[in-house]
């Protein structure tokens, strides 16, 4: 990724004869420095500037905001902010590990540590900040670290291997990030904060308390209102930490994260004006006291008298200077410091006047310490939103912050805006409540009005067009949801019909098509599209209709016309992987498997040379199979009694279970037995999206049933049924639908819930959003499936009964039918020839797909069931050559 700098003759010395381009020196290559370069080259099409960058760190700009993800496996390369080839493409001379040490403003030169001198016509300082380490005794002992660079993190990681207890000095944003990292490395973790609460700058006392409780639940000990007085040192290593409240902690690793200071020494030494408390003084155009010198980011003291430690204002300053240097103008007069982040998994947000400093303001509070939620809004006497703090649930931040910044009257009484929906807060206010001046995308400064204008005046007809036109939603992406709503509202307001149909071929929603298919008794896509649609169909409507047909009629999905409707995964009854090979998942109901079963799977994977991995759903995934191999693999699985696991289908995946009362000391019911029963009942059930389930044998909830589409938790009196949970990208805790059910009622209720969902959900809509958008909410759902308020339960029961009675294993049925088997060849005109482009190399004693440029080997189709090649395929014997 990072290439060694290539010195270019002619621009490396002050005395060089300058070409037509003027010379620009950027000191510092952090996130803001890189953003400046990008903004400059974007505007400087003619190459008016010849740029040299002096970077102190040994690597080019990387994402310091997400530094902590380095600990969770993100590599330095992945953190890099510099697109491949960027420097070369734009002729930028980047000097890594060679910081500027002196500026001669008279001669307009910068001297680097290497001794080389660079002349400039414009100098941009983006030197950033340095961590403040309180000068307590012992602060420089071994085992004391700061948290700023990748090198810092590498050092912490190495030291933590032999450490037991870590302490973080500073309970601000970065300190809590560091604490989370120490915790994740298995250290007993303390946070010592001098202020009486955590994140004192951003949030108030109530929010701090809620955050503290949440964080202590995670096993981090918080010492608030305590100063660090001394680090006790033995053999040169940090051993103890004495606090001002008299406590002494035994520690062997200390991270200082007590704030940052602007790095303004270079500016000071060269006589530029700096602030009393540090920071290079700049004006609205980010120009310093020398008109040829600019300063941006954390090293600058902005014209509003503030030093901004957040990246977004730094980016704005970078844009400002890039405009200045390319004949434009864009003032930086200050920035919004609202923040929303997830600290140790806890949502924390703060915006506007979070501390209620304005005169005569009122506070509206909602606090629920059981759920760990705290919300406060600061409202002016005349009802405008001034600011707020959200801890534990920051879902309303995207709406509240623009409202606050726009300074317009609230669209609803403030108490309704903080109450959770379950407490009667009908907070159904949406983007329509925002005034036009409300800022929707803060990365690119795009207001709601600008988005509406893009639709109404510039003719943008969809979200991608608006993104291209306004750049809204192309930064961090957090506003895309709101952007979409605004665009749709505006399209509707302009009389543009927003199609709610499935796709261009059907004007109906999936739910409507389901009704049509059921009522008319339609059994083919051709008939449905001829009578109710147009065109030939597409990848949206074909699989959706295939799923409806499968839910209703239960025929084999590879038969007749249905074969042409399936996604590739359904078409081959396996999961397509990145190199064109497939993975195979046999069903392991409830996660229960005999030793014989395990051995069988192991033998099959070994014989075919497949990569194996345990899935999150308590089963085993085998990767690397070619289409030709799938029937051979399944012949052996089916012979051993395994069935399709439907990992490839929009269907029931797994019913996960904990071990239950049979073995567990705490279990109160047989969770494994129920999980198996449920999985066998609903296996093969085609639905609008995949379905996941779990059964826990007691309230400890080891099976994580509350993150599933339907989850069951044992009670001493029966079973509690939860529905609408989700993990993945948009996690949602499931809702309790009914308590203490007996087995029969439980299963009947799940039957109806699933069939009601299958009948009414949109295409690819999981149960979580389906439940959320249901009119009348959970009460309505309960009335439908438990009290039969719509009178459809007989119908739902009958549909499920039909599913249960007609279920057959898709793979067994496929193997029995030569017609269905014909598709499993790589090449229609060369059966038996494997795809030569699907190749593998060995890694950690298994195969993985060869990457571009790597020379891998193909695997023989036949595996080595009886043949002489047994044992040749898997493991370290796979010969690997890399080119």
């Amino acid at each position: 990724m990072i290439e060694s700098p290539t010195p270019q003759s002619g621009q490396t010395s002050a005395n060089s004869t300058a070409p037509a381009a003027r010379r620009l020196v950027l000191v510092g290559h952090g996130m803001v420095g890189q953003r400046f370069l990008e903004a400059l080259v974007e505007r400087d099409g003619g190459g008016a500037w010849q740029v040299t960058v002096l970077c102190e760190e040994p690597r080019a700009a990387y994402d310091r905001v997400h530094l902590t993800s380095y600990f969770s496996g993100m590599s330095a390369d992945e953190l890099s902010m510099v697109p491949a080839g960027f420097m070369d493409e734009h002729g930028i001379d980047l000097r890594l590990g060679d910081p500027a040490v002196a500026v001669d403003r008279e001669a307009r030169t910068v001297t680097a540590r290497s001794g080389e001198t660079f002349g400039y016509d414009a100098l941009v300082l983006a030197t950033g900040s340095y961590p403040f380490v309180p000068p307590v005794p012992g602060h420089d002992a071994d085992g004391c670290f700061v948290y700023r660079t990748i090198e810092d993190l590498e050092a912490i990681e190495a030291w933590a291997k032999t450490a037991k207890t870590g302490a973080v000095v500073g309970g601000g944003l970065l300190g809590l990030e560091a604490a989370g990292a120490l915790r994740a490395m298995g250290l007993d973790t303390h946070v010592v904060e001098f202020a009486p609460r955590l994140m004192a700058i951003q949030i108030d006392a109530g929010g701090g308390e809620a955050l503290r409780r949440k964080i202590e639940e995670l096993g981090v000990t918080v010492h608030a209102g305590a100063g660090t007085q001394e680090i006790g040192v033995a053999d040169g290593r940090a051993r103890t930490m004495a606090l001002s409240n008299g406590e002494t902690l035994d520690v062997d690793l200390v991270v200082f994260s007590a704030g940052v200071r602007p790095r303004d020494q270079l500016a000071r030494d060269s006589g530029l004006a700096v602030g009393e408390r540090g920071g290079i003084v700049v004006d609205e155009s980010c120009r310093t006291s020398d008109p040829a010198v600019w300063a941006i980011g954390e090293c600058a003291l902005a014209c509003d008298g503030r030093v901004y430690g957040l990246v977004a204002p730094g980016y704005q300053m970078a844009e400002t200077v890039a405009h200045e240097l390319t004949g434009g103008a864009k003032a930086f007069t200050g920035a919004d410091t609202s923040t929303k982040l997830k600290l140790l998994g806890v949502d924390v947000a703060s915006f506007g006047d979070a501390h209620g400093a304005a005169e005569g303001c009122l506070e509206v509070l909602y606090s629920n310490s059981r759920a760990g939620v705290y919300k406060k809004l600061v409202v002016s006497a005349d009802g405008r939103l001034l600011g707020g703090v959200l801890v534990g649930d920051a879902g309303s931040y995207d709406l509240l912050r623009p409202l606050c910044l726009a300074g317009s009257p609230l669209p609803a009484p403030p108490e309704q805006l903080v109450l959770p929906e379950s407490a009667g807060g009908p907070v159904a206010i949406g983007a329509s409540a925002l005034p036009d001046e409300a800022l929707v995308c803060s990365c690119h400064n795009v207001s709601k009005g600008a988005i509406r204008a893009a639709v109404a005046e510039q003719g943008c007809a969809d979200v991608p067009a608006v993104k291209k036109c306004t750049r809204a939603g192309t930064g961090c992406g957090s506003c895309v949801k709101m952007l979409t709503t605004i665009v749709q509202d505006e399209l509707a307001a302009n009389g543009v019909e927003v199609a709610k149909g499935l796709c261009e071929h059907f004007e109906h929603t999936r739910a409507e098509l389901f009704e049509i298919v059921q009522v008319r008794g339609i059994t083919s896509f051709t008939r449905l599209i001829e009578e109710h649609g147009t065109g030939l169909g597409c990848d949206v409507c074909k699989p959706a209709v295939a799923s409806i047909l499968a839910s209703l009629s239960n025929g084999h999905i590879l038969d007749g016309e249905q074969a042409a409707l399936q996604d590739t995964n359904d078409h081959f009854l396996a999961n397509l992987q990145r190199n064109g090979s497939y993975s195979v998942v046999p069903r392991i109901p409830g996660g229960e498997i005999t030793p014989e079963g395990l051995i069988t799977i192991g033998e099959i994977a070994r014989d075919f040379g497949l990569y194996t991995k345990i899935t999150g759903g308590q089963r085993i995934d085998m990767f690397g199979a070619s289409v030709d191999q799938l029937p051979l693999i399944w012949a052996r699985l089916v012979a051993a009694g395994f069935e399709s696991g439907h990992a490839y289908g929009k269907a029931l995946r797994t019913v996960k279970s904990c071990v239950g009362e049979t073995w567990c000391r705490y279990g109160v019911q047989d969770s494994v037995g129920l999980a198996i029963e449920l999985e066998l009942r609903y296996r093969g059930l085609r639905s609008p999206h995949k379905l996941k389930s779990a059964v826990s044998g007691c309230a400890r909830e080891c099976a994580e049933a509350q993150s599933k589409d339907f989850g069951v938790i044992a009670t001493s009196a029966g079973w509690n049924l939860y529905i609408g949970g989700n993990g993945g990208m948009t996690p949602r805790h499931a809702d309790l639908l009914a308590s203490d059910l007996d087995r029969e009622t439980l299963i009947r209720t799940i039957d109806r819930f699933l069939m009601f969902y299958i009948r009414t959900a949109d295409r690819l809509e999981r149960t979580a959003p389906w439940v959320e958008r249901m009119e009348g909410g959970l009460d309505h759902l309960r009335a439908v499936v438990m009290d039969d308020s719509l009178g459809i339960c007989d119908d739902l029961d009958e549909l499920m009964q039909r599913h249960v009675e007609t279920y057959e294993d898709e793979w067994r049925a496929t193997l029995e039918d030569p017609e269905r088997l014909r598709r499993f060849v790589s090449f229609v005109n060369a059966p038996g020839t494997p795809d030569p482009t699907v190749t593998f190399v060995a890694e950690r004693d298994q195969i993985r797909p060869a990457r571009p440029g790597e020379e891998g080997v193909s695997l023989p189709i036949e595996g080595s069931v009886d043949g002489p090649t047994a044992g040749l395929i898997a493991g370290p014997t796979l010969e690997v050559r890399t080119s």
């Binding site: 261009e504 071929h505 051709t526 065109g535 030939l536 169909g537 597409c538 990848d539 409507c541 074909k542 699989p543 016309e561 074969a563 042409a564 409707l565 399936q566 996604d567 590739t568 995964n569 078409h571 081959f572 397509l576 990145r578 190199n579 064109g580 014909r822 598709r823 790589s826 090449f827 229609v828 005109n829 060369a830 020839t833 795809d835 482009t837 699907v838 571009p852």
Partner: protein, 136 residues
């Protein structure tokens, strides 16, 4: 072989004749028979090896046959033949199963490419009904 009937040599122009009709792909100046028309499920594809190249061959519901390169330019995997067929504003297209970009079956042009045009190679297709004479 006593007689043959050629059904048209342009992709898309080919129409079904009978179950034994052969699908032939034109490449490097010659025609390679790859399968019988009956081997193609309308709306789906197969992959074939033609002169060392991987070709994806499709039949649509109207009986038209198309052939394009099997390599998905976005993922580098040879999977185009496993995509779903359909139409977009009347344009017959195949959707790559990997990252779901659509390609015009007639021209190979990607309908979802943002900046620079991306396309699949297009091969000529002809359907040939060969009447095989018994010899001796």
């Amino acid at each position: 072989m006593a007689a043959e009937r050629q059904e048209g040599a342009r992709a898309g122009a080919a129409r079904a004749a009978g179950p034994d009709t052969l699908v032939e792909i034109g490449a490097a100046g010659s025609w390679t028979p790859v399968c019988r028309l009956a081997d193609l499920i309308p709306g789906r594809g197969v992959a074939a090896l033609v002169d060392g190249e991987q070709v994806a061959v499709f039949a649509d519901h109207d009986g038209a046959v198309y052939a394009v390169g099997n390599r998905d330019p976005f993922s580098g995997a040879y999977v185009i033949s496993r995509g779903i067929l359909g139409s977009r504003q009347g344009v017959p297209m195949v959707m790559s199963p990997m990252y779901k970009e659509a390609f015009d079956l007639r021209t190979g042009l990607c309908l979802d490419a943002d900046d620079e045009p991306v396309s699949l190679p297009v091969y000529e297709v002809r359907l040939r009904t060969a009447v095989v004479a018994e010899v001796g």
